[in-house]
Amino acid sequence: MASALPMRAQVPSVGGEHRQHASWSPYDDNGGTVVAVAGDDYCVVAASTRMSTGYSILTRDKTKILRLNPKCVVASAGMQADMETLHKMLHMRHVTYQFNHRKPMSCPATAQLLSNTLYYKRFFPYYTFNLCAGLDEEGKGAVYTYDAIGSYERVGYGCQGSGKELIQPVLDNQLKAASPLVLPQQQWLSSLPLEQAVDLVKGAFVSAGERDIYTGDDVEILIITKEGVRTDRLELKRD
């Protein structure tokens, strides 16, 4: 817990007695899950809106998605304070980019920028688990998945956050290619129709909400196509 007062932690020592140890962590996990699925000409991005700390709920309506431009968004789970700062940084860099290049940032460019921004704080990381998603320069869906210090990879679908372990297998089952030995090599199956992809994401969140206490309340869903960004909202259980 990132509390103001130093916390006394019990540390077992060699002799067997417990030594008192002050410990304070600058980090806190506010929970929540983010998911993104890329299609041939769309990208679905979803994030739960619950923000928690410990076993308490801080708010039921906190967005985790930064909309940089109609072709690219960044969704972050983890510590919301770091997420907000990271999002502010990315937004400012995006404004500057537009002044200098006279066009919005593309999704791959944002992906690289996010990676660099995260690695910049390699030794005091942003406690955020990110997905960068949108449409690439060819108009195809793109999803990039990150660790906390900026290692990233383009994938066909991804999820991060507290419900990651519950949702990832479901997406793998539905979207991953049968075998890496299949030729021509593809890591994920060619895309589902848009509505099916949205239903898959919704179903995944409902399932995760059942067992992950940090996922619940609502899910903010963005559907990114060349026509623009459409939003949807899925209600989850409030328990």
């Binding site: 502010k88 400012m92 500057t96 537009q98 002044f99 006279r102």
Partner: protein
């Protein structure tokens, strides 16, 4: 002004209490092409004449967006103008980052001016022997909580709050137009304001005409983020399809750069000539726009087919100056 023994560097006073280098820097502004800024109760408008070094080259940009609520027009050394533009953009972004709100214009222009004196921007160049003053004048137009503003930043490090202002080559003619008309600006609609700006600009144009290629206009206001109109976007104002052409603005995104067609209508209205039909590709409130354009083209001396209002009489005057 003649060369004299007190004008070698900026740290030398003349016996009359003048610093000639600063005054020479102000001369540089007069070398640039004309730019005007004016405001009503709700909007601020910039209009500039663009110059091209040769027929083969493109026109020099003179209007720059600084932030969603603010932009500048420059006159003088363009390179100096770009430096100030970059500084202003950075300051506005930092302000937004820290305060999550738009930078108030009064503060911005003061900071730019202080750069001359205090190791900030413009004034420091007037007080260090190893520096020189900025050779560019800025008209800063914007909208903040206090309403619309038009400021002028001078190379001397002074800044002034204006109802309307013109700078650059032959700007006196534009100033005369503005002096005659400014009382009607307060209640003017956006279209009327742009027309006034173009009229004022036309006054500074010695030979040649306003076209959608050689001028650029920018508007900013309460519900209008700073929007640059060039080429197509300006065409309607030049052609005079105006009154209802103001709807164009509602369709513009922050910082959208509209090309030829949008500018042409306005320019044609000012010229009392045939609408630049070729230029009008932008989707417009179709029937009204074409109707307005035809009316303006047919009208003699009456440039505004649509929204009349004050200040129209002045429209004829600059043509004859």
């Amino acid at each position: 002004m003649f060369r004299n023994q007190y004008d070698t560097d900026v740290t030398t006073w003349s016996p009359q209490g003048r610093i000639f280098q600063i005054e020479y820097a102000m001369e540089a502004v007069k070398q640039g092409s004309a730019a005007v800024g004016l405001k009503s109760k709700e909007y601020a408008v910039l209009a500039t004449l663009k110059r091209a070094p040769s027929e083969l080259s493109s026109y020099q940009r003179k209007v720059f967006k600084i932030d969603d609520h603010m932009g500048i027009a420059i006159s003088g050394l363009t390179a100096d103008g770009r430096i100030l533009c970059r500084y202003m953009r950075n300051e506005c972004l930092n302000h937004r980052y820290v305060y999550d709100s738009a930078m108030p214009l009064g503060r911005m222009v003061r900071q730019v001016a202080d750069k001359a004196q205090v190791a900030d921007k413009a004034q420091v160049g007037t007080q260090r022997s190893w520096k020189r003053p900025y050779g560019v004048g800025l008209i800063v137009a914007g909208y903040d909580e206090a309403g619309p503003h038009v400021f002028y930043n001078c190379p001397s490090g002074n800044y002034y709050d204006y109802k309307a202002f013109a700078m650059g080559a032959r700007s006196q003619a534009a100033k005369t137009y503005l002096e005659r008309q400014f009382e009607s600006f307060g209640g003017a609609s956006l279209d009327e304001l742009v027309k006034h700006a173009l009229h004022a600009l036309q006054a500074s144009l010695q030979d040649g005409e306003l076209t959608d290629k050689n001028c650029s206009v920018a508007v900013v206001g309460k519900d209008t983020t700073f929007t640059l109109l060039e080429d197509e976007a300006l065409a309607p104002y030049i052609t005079g399809a105006l009154a209802s052409a103001c709807y164009c603005f509602c369709r513009l995104f922050a910082g959208a750069l509209l090309e030829d067609e949008a500018l042409a209508p306005y320019i044609t209205a000012v010229k009392e000539e045939e609408p630049e039909a070729a230029g009008m590709e932008a989707e417009q409130p179709a029937a009204e726009a074409e109707g307005g354009a035809a009316a303006a083209a047919g009208g003699e001396g009456e440039q505004q087919g649509g929204g009349g209002g004050g200040g129209d009489e002045g429209g004829a005057a600059p043509m004859q100056e």
